[in-house]
């Protein structure tokens, strides 16, 4: 398959993920959208790496997965703490970043 097709699919997935981050109010869904963006980026890495006959992109995907796993642990911890603090996971309640 042509490399551009993969990249376009990756771009679409990335955009959908980003859109989800911005329009959804549910903290968990926002987090899932972020994971979607990670995966879009991974797809791009693998596609380009395969096209250029390199292996570094694939290695990078491994590291992105590591970061994603770490991020999942932290983000879900934050989600629990947030819920405990506010009684909801509506992200609009996170409005104190101005003090």
């Amino acid at each position: 398959m042509d490399i551009n097709a993969y990249l376009i699919v990756a771009g679409i997935l990335f955009s959908i993920g980003g859109l989800g981050v911005l329009i959804r109010k549910n903290l968990i869904v926002v987090f899932m959208s972020l994971e979607l963006m990670f995966n879009a980026a991974n797809l791009g890495f693998v596609a380009v790496s395969g096209y250029l006959n390199l292996i570094s992109g694939d290695i990078f995907v491994i590291f992105v997965m590591v970061v994603a796993a770490a991020e999942a642990a932290i983000a879900l911890g934050i989600a629990i703490a947030f819920y405990r603090e506010k009684g909801t996971i509506n992200i609009d309640k996170a409005n104190e970043l101005k003090w």
């Binding site: 980003g18 911005l22 992200i91 996170a94 409005n95 104190e96 970043l97 101005k98 003090w99």
Partner: protein, 627 residues
């Protein structure tokens, strides 16, 4: 750094140490402050004498402490230039300073600023020593300003008194006018020669175009006019008498005000290559000598009379250096430092005895009550009047004889008339203070001052009596001239001798003038041969002119101070209120309303921040794509 260098740097080191010590710990030192302050100067004096002997037996040298500014071609060291001129100045400065410091222990006793006073005085002595020692114009300029600053803080020492703080400001501002010229002169020297080192600058003088040398010389002289209180910037010195009397004695008679003369003598190469500038120096000196003596005739405040006398004597010195008789000028500088320092100290002693009274009309018949003060004052007065064998006779005669023999007859006549007036006004003080009828307020308990004050006076009086003998045999063959002559050899002779009249002929004329002045004062105030009131009425315009100091203060007021003040008020009321404040307030309001709008971006919502970040990413990607 060898021993000679160490010797040089010890001289300014001790006053500096004293100033820091007294300035920082003065509060805890109480009465010891006076001893520390004096001892530091005495040590400095001893080192100066040692240096004097070293230099007198060998030759001058340059001592570099450390490199100060090294910027491509501009190189300046903290370094000294030691020759016979500077060691003579050094011994004079530290010697008189030491005596004045000791005197101050008695004079300033009980003052709440006792330690502060000695700290300032030590700082002054340090600055003055460095001024004398400097071997480049930048260092000279720095310490030129430093002594001006010390003068300012010491004139305003009793700053609670409005007249004192006003006088301090006046001194500082008037000095500023002169120093501005001096600063320009230093810059011009750098621009035209590319260096500020004395030796290099002087070496390049013959190759510079004449007009440039004249401008440099006149700009330097502007600084000298301000610092040495010459016409037209002499107005600050009489007001400077608001400071403590030892300050007047040390700074405003013996040392700082003579810095101008020292400057001209130090830069004699520059001045000698510009006969025009030298003549300006000489004629301003001569005119100032005459004018100040004329004003001194009718004043009633003892210290002011002596202050005008200082201005007048400085005029003599400028006259001497202006006609190329540098050694004679420095000789008069030295002897003047001794006898004028003495006169101020004795005036301070009188003032001390009279509980601060300075008005001639409220004194009289003090001789019997304070014999030491009276005798030492008379010695100083005789020296000032140029009566042999006191020091003033030798030094003043050296100047007057040179003016005559070099053909400056106008200056000579002015000098002789001034000599007559000088003798008159100084003996007017003596006759009205120590003799005649007593007008002393009966409540004042007149007493002789303590030993710590009288001993410095006695030492200075003996010096004033004998220091003149370094001037024999008279004129060009004297010890002093031969000693100092070598330093002035490299100057250009622009005023050769035209007459060779024998010294006794010329001397007898000036001695006659002085004696005549004394006799006139005697007739006026002891014999009361004339009705002074009647004479006042007959010569009313002249008397008024002298009494009102030739209206120079008033002229400055009308010509400079008032217009400047009006202009400043205009600036304040119109420009500052509307233009500056308007601009500042308008800008502030603009920012306030703008930030009121921008503030809404910062709403604290995490998602809106994420959106903003996203827009930023899009913009960046677009930027790199286009690039």
């Amino acid at each position: 750094m060898d021993t000679k260098d160490l010797l040089v740097w010890s001289i300014p080191f001790f006053p500096m140490l004293g100033a820091i010590l007294l300035g920082v710990f003065g509060k805890y030192l109480k009465n010891y402050a006076g001893y520390i302050g004096s001892i530091s100067i005495v040590i400095s004096f001893l080192f100066s004498v040692a240096l004097f002997i070293t230099v007198a037996s060998t030759h001058g040298f340059t001592a570099i402490l450390y490199p100060w500014i090294y910027a491509s071609t501009f190189k300046t060291n903290i370094s000294t230039y030691i020759d016979r001129l500077s060691v003579i100045m050094l011994v004079m400065v530290t010697g008189v300073s030491a005596l004045v410091h000791i005197y101050s222990i008695g004079y300033m006793k009980g003052d709440k600023g006792f330690a502060r006073y000695f700290s300032y005085m030590n700082l002054f002595v340090f600055s003055m020593i460095m001024l004398v020692l400097a071997n480049n114009f930048l260092l000279l300029y720095v310490f030129w300003e430093a002594v001006g600053f010390c003068s300012y803080i010491l004139i305003g020492f009793w700053y609670e008194k409005k007249s004192a703080s006003d006088a301090a400001k006046k001194a500082f501002i008037v000095n500023r006018v002169g120093d501005f010229g001096f600063g320009l002169g230093v810059m011009l020297i750098f621009v035209s020669t590319g260096t500020l080192n004395y030796t290099s600058v002087f070496g390049m003088m013959p190759s510079l175009p004449g007009y440039l040398v004249t401008i440099i010389a006149l700009l330097l002289f502007a600084g000298a006019v301000g610092k040495s209180a010459q016409f037209p910037l002499h107005i600050w010195l009489p007001d400077a008498m608001e400071g403590p009397t030892p300050v007047s004695s040390l700074i405003h008679a013996a040392t700082m005000v003579t810095a101008g003369v020292y400057l001209v003598a130090r830069c004699h190469v520059i001045f000698s290559y510009s006969p025009f500038a030298s003549h300006v120096v000489a004629y301003i000196g001569g005119f100032t000598a005459f004018l100040a003596a004329f004003i001194a005739l009718t004043q009633y405040d003892i210290k002011r009379i002596i202050a005008y006398s200082t201005i007048s004597q400085l005029g003599y010195m400028f006259m001497a250096v202006g006609i190329g008789s540098y050694a004679a000028g420095i000789f008069h500088l030295i002897s003047h430092a001794v006898f004028k320092g003495l006169l101020f100290l004795t005036a301070g002693s009188v003032m001390h005895a009279m509980s601060g009274e300075l008005d001639l009309r409220k004194m009289g018949k003090l001789y019997s009550k304070m014999k030491i003060t009276a005798v030492t004052f008379i010695v100083g007065a005789l020296a000032l009047s140029g009566i042999p064998p006191f020091s003033g006779f030798f030094s003043k005669d050296a100047i007057l004889a040179d003016t005559f023999n070099k053909g400056y007859y106008i200056l000579w006549i002015m000098g002789e008339v001034t000599a007559f007036m000088t003798a008159f006004y100084i003996f007017r003080i003596i006759f009205r203070v120590f003799f005649g009828e007593s007008h002393v307020d009966p409540s004042v308990h007149v007493h002789e001052s303590s030993k710590v004050m009288t001993i410095p006076m006695i030492i200075l009086a003996s010096l004033a009596a004998v220091v003149g003998f370094i001037g024999i045999p008279p004129f060009d063959h004297s010890l002093f001239y031969l000693f100092l002559h070598r330093d002035f050899q490299n100057s250009f002779v622009f005023s050769p001798f035209v007459n060779y009249y024998p010294w006794f002929l010329l001397s007898s004329i000036s001695v006659l003038a002085g004696a005549l002045g004394i006799y006139t004062a005697y007739l006026f105030y002891i014999k009361q041969a004339f009705d002074t009131e009647k004479i006042k009425r007959i010569f009313k315009p002249v008397y008024e002119l002298s009494f009102n100091k030739v209206y120079i203060d008033e002229i400055y007021d009308q010509l400079i101070v008032t217009p400047l003040k009006n202009f400043s008020v205009y600036l304040w009321r119109v420009v500052d209120t509307f233009v500056i404040d308007g601009a500042v307030n308008g800008l502030a309001q603009g920012f306030a309303s703008f930030s009121g709008r921008v503030r809404r971006v910062q709403n604290g919502m995490v998602m809106s921040y994420a959106l903003t970040l996203m827009i930023g990413v899009i913009a960046l990607l677009a930027y790199y794509f286009i690039k």
